[in-house]
């Protein structure tokens, strides 16, 4: 565990930042640390965290997934349409849409790994295509309201715990096992550090790359369905905010945006930081415009701290040679 902390200093830093931010927010808004408020903060953070789970895998592998917003949005809208407000269809609609999200990820991954399309272009294209498909499908008309079961998953509680927080916890566990305890994780970090070295070491680079995008498609689609439950219905544009926040959570969580480092545990802190910020600014009487400005500044700050750390490391390595 010590080794983990030593090599993931940035992840630790993300948690430190989260705690500081919590205390600062509590200072300006005394009710902030109340149980009910913390609960709603965690619920909001969970949506970011779930979308950012797939994004974390993609970014560690050296890619980026810009198709997240409309994978999320498509899943939300198609679910609402297929269920028509009923619970029962969810039995087949949920697996179907998860498979759909995975399929979009597969297309992204194959495009990147087999055909050499740059990740930015590949995922941007699938994002726009999905947006077009949904507009054609709905003609812009509103969808039926979300099934009750989905509402339970996103805003319901089991005892004192929000259901979605428990889901998030379970997903965090799975992601951590994959990154820290599975061969896949080793392959992924190697791939993101140097695709050539990974290839020369016998790492199944194409399969690993594809899998990251599949995971990202899965989590985005899943988050889309849950988010429908949270807002009561699906609407066009509901995924847009998650493009930035999913990437920002990964970056704040200490991953190098160039791949090869970071951990989902850091992303969890990143999602919390972003959500707490949205709570802090109204307390300071700042507008949502100001929120965006702060978001941007926080990203710049954390990424520059990260790259400085990496640059320092690089300098050291050059220095120690011979």
């Amino acid at each position: 565990m010590n080794a983990f902390l030593a090599r993931n200093r940035l992840v630790v830093l993300a948690y430190a930042g989260m705690v500081v931010l919590l205390l600062v927010t509590a200072l300006f808004s005394p009710g902030f640390l109340s149980v009910s408020n913390m609960r709603s903060t965690v619920v909001l953070a969970a949506f970011v965290g779930i979308v950012a789970l797939g994004q974390t895998f993609v970014i560690i592998g050296g890619g980026i997934d810009l198709s997240v917003p409309w994978v999320l949005n498509s899943a939300a809208i198609v679910m609402a349409l297929l269920c028509g407000g009923q619970d029962l269809p969810l039995v087949w609609v949920m697996p179907l849409l998860l498979a759909g999200g995975a399929f979009i990820g597969l297309i992204n991954g194959v495009g990147v790994a087999q055909f050499g399309v740059p990740p930015i272009i590949m995922t941007l294209a699938t994002n726009v295509i999905l947006q077009g498909l949904i507009l054609v499908l709905t003609g812009g008309s509103p969808t039926p309201s979300a099934p009750a079961l989905i509402q339970f998953l996103s805003v319901g509680r089991i005892g004192a715990f929000p259901v979605i927080a428990l889901i998030w916890l379970a997903l965090t566990l799975v992601a951590t096992l994959l990154l820290s305890k599975a061969a896949f994780g080793r392959h992924l970090y190697a791939l993101g550090t140097s695709a050539t070295v990974a290839e020369f070491s016998g790492v199944p680079t194409a399969r690993t790359t594809i899998l990251t995008y599949v995971i990202s498609g899965l989590t985005a689609a899943f988050a889309g369905m849950l988010l429908t439950g949270y807002s009561g219905q699906a609407y066009l544009g509901m995924g847009d905010a998650y493009l930035f926040t999913s990437i920002a959570a990964v970056a704040i969580g200490g991953a190098s945006i160039l791949g090869g480092s970071g951990h989902y545990l850091g992303t969890v802190a990143g999602a919390m930081v972003l959500t707490i910020l949205t709570g802090l600014l109204p307390a300071l009487n700042l507008s949502s415009g100001a929120l965006l400005i702060v978001y941007g500044a926080v990203i710049l700050l954390t990424v520059s701290i990260g790259s400085e750390t990496f640059a320092g490391l690089g300098g050291k390595m050059r220095g120690k040679e011979g």
Binding site: A190, K316, M317
Partner: protein, 500 residues
């Protein structure tokens, strides 16, 4: 008067002392060799001289005046240029654009004066008799050796009074290396000081007037080159007596064919390679650079496409990618040419690097067993005597020789018993070189079959059981026994009608 005088030079990186009270002095018009093992402080020293790194303590005088460059530009302004092992060239630019990068001749409108740039390039290449380089060639199309030559041209373009060559010959084939040695003497004759770093003793002997030996960050000795023996030098470099560099060549080859290659051809340079490598054999691959050696190794490892038949331990195989090559007991492993670009994850630990190829072996029910991994890592670190603080040390912070050992370890952990070694001693210090040769013989004795390419011809002559000489993409000759010599290899590499 000395052109450069260094006194008490010190540099630390965190807790690591790279230089401690190092001294150095050299005159204009001499070739001054700087010797030492990897990690002795040579690189730090020249990085300070060239302005890439600033020193913590001590003084440097150039022409009797204090010298403390803030950056490489400032160093160049004082007439000091360096050619590093790690190239600083831009792949998308042409040869001449690279040579004059940031110092392009300008027109009155401050645009680049292409005609003038071409003229100056040709004049420079001509003056120093550069091997064939086309000024307009895109850099990414050049081989590593050609890039190294461009790097040298770039250094000379600054017309430096002091030129530092850091292992500039290590990636050059024999003929170009010889040219560089001549060039070095020419530069000294022009009144320049050349500070020359090389791990090849023969080169140092051939051109150096004096030599300074570093060990553990300090200056151990300064010698007139003709007044000291190789043995003394090596002993001073490594701080102990090294019996000899090359291990005894005991024939351990059996009759069993480990690797048979027939008619291997590719779009790039391979045309009908045939040979057989036996169990327990070290088979050298020589020839002039660019005659298909690199392509042969890559094709055998599945890193590039080729047609023809490959048999491993009697079974025909098709190897589409390195993963297939490394799989199973009849696999084939490669220690690649580019240690940092192909071999090692520099920002990952020794442990992660060692087990990367075989990580699946440590999983139970899909979960990694750290204990199992740690045990095998420890075994390999001990076996290869990898000098790392702990297995968690980042591979990029190891010395070149130890980095190479980690790559060997990674490949030995796979069950492949056919090893492809592409220039495994490049940029490796003399002590580790000896260990690598010994390791090769030990592995051969244990039944490994080794295909071994070296850009340093004496290594082929002294280590290999047989030597394949490649010319124009095929095996032009196979040398055995007494016929293995530098002259024999060169003759076969260059003459058309040498009998195979």
């Amino acid at each position: 008067m000395d052109l450069v005088t260094v006194k008490g030079l010190s540099k630390r990186y965190g807790g690591i002392v790279a230089l401690s009270e190092a001294t150095f002095s050299a005159r204009a018009g001499e070739v001054h060799a700087l010797l030492g093992e990897n990690g002795a402080g040579k690189s730090t020293f020249i990085q300070i001289l060239s302005g890439a790194v600033r020193h913590d303590g001590g003084s440097i005088l150039v022409d009797g005046q204090d010298y403390r460059p803030a950056n490489p530009d400032a160093a160049q302004a004082r007439g000091i240029a360096a050619v590093f092992q790690e190239l600083s060239l831009i792949p998308d630019l042409s040869v001449e654009q690279n040579i004059w990068f940031r110092h392009e001749p300008r027109t009155l409108l401050r645009t680049v004066n292409r005609a003038e740039m071409r003229r100056k390039t040709l004049a420079l290449l001509d003056k120093y008799n550069f091997p064939a380089l086309r000024p307009d060639q895109e850099l990414r199309r050049l081989t590593l050796a050609e890039r190294q030559i461009v790097e040298i041209a770039k250094g000379l373009a600054k017309d430096p009074r002091i030129l530092i060559l850091d292992e500039a010959t290590s990636s050059l084939p024999a003929r170009e290396a010889e040219w560089l040695l001549k060039l070095t003497r020419q530069l000294a004759a022009e009144g320049r000081l050349v500070i020359f770093i090389s791990h090849r003793m023969a080169e140092v002997r051939a051109i150096a007037d004096r030599l300074t030996i570093f060990r553990n960050g300090s200056t151990i000795a300064v010698h007139e080159a003709n007044a000291v023996s190789d043995n003394e030098i090596v002993t001073q470099m490594i701080g102990r007596h090294l019996d000899r560099l090359y291990p005894e060549r005991i024939a351990t080859a059996t009759d069993r064919i480990a690797l048979r290659v027939k008619g291997l051809s590719s779009d790039s340079r391979l045309s009908g390679v045939d040979f057989a490598l036996r169990e327990g054999e070290v088979l050298g691959v020589g020839g002039l650079q660019g005659h298909g050696q690199r392509e042969l190794f890559q094709a055998l490892f599945g890193a590039s496409k080729a047609s023809g038949t490959i048999e491993l331990w009697g079974k025909p195989v098709s190897i589409a990618n390195p993963r297939q090559a490394l799989t199973g007991e009849d696999g084939i492993a490669l220690v690649p040419e580019d240690r940092r670009g192909q071999g090692l994850l520099l920002t990952k630990s020794v442990r992660e690097n060692l087990t990367l190829s075989v990580i699946k072996r440590f999983t139970e029910n899909g979960l990694l067993s750290r204990q199992k991994e740690a045990a095998l890592v420890k075994e390999m670190v001990d076996f290869l005597r990898i000098k790392a603080g702990t297995p968690e040390q980042l591979a990029g912070t190891l010395s070149g020789g130890n980095q190479q050992k980690v790559i060997f370890g990674k490949m030995l952990l796979t069950q492949a018993r056919v090893l492809l070694l592409y220039d495994p001693t490049r940029g490796v210090d003399v002590g580790t070189k000896g260990e690598i040769f010994q390791l090769m013989r030990d592995l051969a004795a244990r039944g490994y079959a080794i295909l071994f390419h070296s850009s340093d011809m004496p290594e082929l002559v002294h280590v290999a059981d047989r030597v394949l000489v490649m010319r124009n993409g095929h095996v032009a000759a196979t040398l055995e026994g007494d016929r293995i010599s530098e002259a024999g290899i060169l003759r076969a590499a260059m003459l058309e009608n040498e009998a195979a």
